[in-house]
Amino acid sequence: MSQTIIKQHIPQDELLASGHLACPGCAAPIAMNLVLKALGPETMVVLPACCWSIIAGPWPQSSLQVPLFHTAFETGAAVASGIKAGLVSRGDTKTTVISWAGDGGTFDIGLQALSGAAERNEDFIYFCYDNEAYMNTGIQRSSATPWGAWTTTTPTSDPEHQPKKDIMAIMAAHRIPYAATASVAYPVDLVEKVKKARTIRGTRFIHILAPCPPGWKTQNDETIDLARMAVERRVFPLMEVENGGSWRFTVDHPGGSVEEYIRRQARFKHLTDRQVEIIQDQVDARWEILSNRVKYGT
């Protein structure tokens, strides 16, 4: 992708200040920066407990130049529903309300409120930046943690047993108008999806993989490489699904071995070659399922 094309697609104005408190190499502020570029200043952010509760800065500061409401862990979708209702009741139908939650606040503790809001087709965009564990509390497993990973609650002697929850299928089952996966390594694809979501009414869900150097045990400068590799090797395919039935891939996914992706992350360093093959089998099987969804619409 040439620089010229990126400039055409990605607005120059930034609504994330440089003084944020993310760890070096964190994908979460990159994702927020791109999303706010796509949405612009007529945006309100609901922030349930997650790494971003810290990244945004302590009182009386804020790294965001849009209104921000910090809220309890499981309430992102419910508070966003209420803010939107409040705005509409006062005649404001143009401000975009977003909920910005981590994987814990989305896949686990916030799933009930998210499901309720999605079923009601509340008019907001729900973003999940997914670093695949409870990173803010010190790397505990969530239902987004991949099979075989080390975390502080899945030690290497007994690593994560379960495959990552299929949150996209869950959201698609709500038949919301728009759901997508996105990656910080594909900024144009991400921004285009956010811009598209902004034009749609109803509940929109965007799931962004967010590599985490301290939690994944990777180098700070590997974040974009790993995010790109996750897409290319089909670990985290980039997709859209509209109205729960129309699935499509939005970039090319050449495939190939997941071994390098896994071996570059020390959270997987205890895995045997055989166990890496198991992950490969899981990725291949899931790719087939997703390809069938694209082909047959379910």
């Binding site: 609901v46 302590p58 849009v66 209104p67 409401f69 809220t71 419910a78 803010i83 009741s89």
Partner: protein, 386 residues
């Protein structure tokens, strides 16, 4: 306009007259008729509000918080288990200084499963930072609903108005429904002191370090204490329009009384009847009704109870391991009364899980309070049969 209505519908009519803008609710007996009636009002256009039919009480309060930080007047209603589920967000509304108003229909907590009244659900939320107002009649429920918005929006704190399950919620009484233009004069559209605003972007509820957290709680406490005076002014304004007022504390035939009953909620009405009978028989018995539980009307109760010989506090609640909650709070308030003026205080536990408190029960309490030199224990349980 006078209408005969159940207590639950008195709440709905109060919310209608208050022109609530965002309603978010989840069904639970015995509250449900409140939000059912509001559904009809929104559906037929008489109440142009946004109504969010959430999947839980936790989300009901979270959505009210969202509506409130967007600058609008927000309302919900619940009972018992639903209130308990909201607990985390009750702190969020109060700490966030958001004037959400909620009706709680007092229902006892499970297990065992029960839908009947007692006060343990709302009193368990004592320290969440909500103003709590307990009602005796359906008229008071209607009036208090409207007053609650004015009080909440003046001090930037949430208000819980409380009514007894079934004794009020499902019982019909005549209610004088104040005309809309009169309510509009009393309660104009909400002008939020702060809100989400893209032209003035701010962060709300961020991490606060130890150097500032105490100051935030101090400001919250100051607002709570200010609510005592503000409630008086709110009642002045309401009385000027309707002729009705209740008081944070109401006295009934307390002049020269040597024995005072202290009640809240519908037990008060029964106690009024008993006091009338005792007065007719020449006994110096009076009644104090406590409407406002938070902020606690400490000064009024010290003034009214200091120097009285005997006080019987009727608690439809129990703090296990301590005693009746009103009785314990009143004992604490009376500590600063000179020892010679401190009344002999009897704390009765009764009416739990909806058990009827009849005039005969209150008669027994008066007789026991008169004939016993000192209470045997802090919690005197009424009618326990094992």
């Amino acid at each position: 306009m006078k209408k005969v209505m159940i207590g639950n519908h008195a709440v709905s009519w109060g919310a209608l007259r208050s022109r609530v803008e965002v309603i978010s609710a989840y069904p639970i007996t015995p509250q449900t008729q409140i939000v059912e009636a509001l559904s009809d009002m929104v559906a037929d256009g008489s109440l142009p509000a946004q109504y969010i039919k959430v999947e839980s009480e936790h989300s009901a309060m979270a959505a009210c918080i969202g509506g409130s930080i967007a600058g609008t007047r927000t309302f919900t209603a619940t009972s018992a288990q639903g209130l308990a589920l909201m607990h985390e967000m009750l702190h969020w509304a109060a700490g966030g200084r958001l004037p959400v108003v909620m009706a709680n229909v007092n229902r006892a907590m499970a297990p065992g499963w029960t839908i009947w009244t007692d006060q343990n659900d709302s009193l368990s939320q004592r320290d969440t930072g909500w103003i709590q107002l307990y009602c005796e009649t359906n008229q008071e429920v209607f009036d208090t609903t409207i007053q609650s918005f004015k009080l909440a929006e003046t001090v930037n704190l949430p208000v819980m108005l409380v009514l007894d399950a079934f004794y009020l919620s499902h019982t019909s009484e005549p209610v004088d429904v104040t005309e809309q233009e009169d309510v509009d004069r009393f309660l104009p559209k909400r002008e939020a002191a702060f809100k989400m605003d893209t032209s003035d972007p701010r962060a709300f509820g961020a991490l606060v370090r130890p150097d500032a957290y105490t100051e935030m709680r101090w400001q919250q406490q100051e607002a709570m204490l200010e609510a005592r005076d503000v409630f008086r002014r709110v009642e002045d304004d309401w009385e000027a329009i309707t002729g009705r007022r209740y008081g944070a504390v109401e006295t009934y035939r307390t002049e020269d009384a040597d024995l005072l009953l202290v009640t809240s909620g519908t037990i008060t009405s029964t106690a009024r009847h008993v006091v009338d009978e005792r007065r007719a028989a020449g006994e110096k018995v009076g009644l104090i009704k406590v409407k406002m539980f938070r902020p606690f009307p400490t000064d009024e109760l010290r003034e009214l109870l200091g120097g009285v010989d005997r006080v019987a506090v009727l608690d439809r609640n129990i703090s296990p391991g301590h005693g009746g909650i009103f009785a314990e709070e009143i004992r604490a308030a009376l500590y600063d009364v000179p020892p010679e003026d401190r009344p002999n205080l009897f704390g009765y536990i009764l009416g739990l899980g909806g058990r009827d408190v009849t005039p005969a029960v209150i008669d027994d309490i008066i007789d026991n309070t008169r004939s016993t030199a000192r209470p045997e224990r802090e919690d005197l349980w009424v009618g326990v049969e094992l």
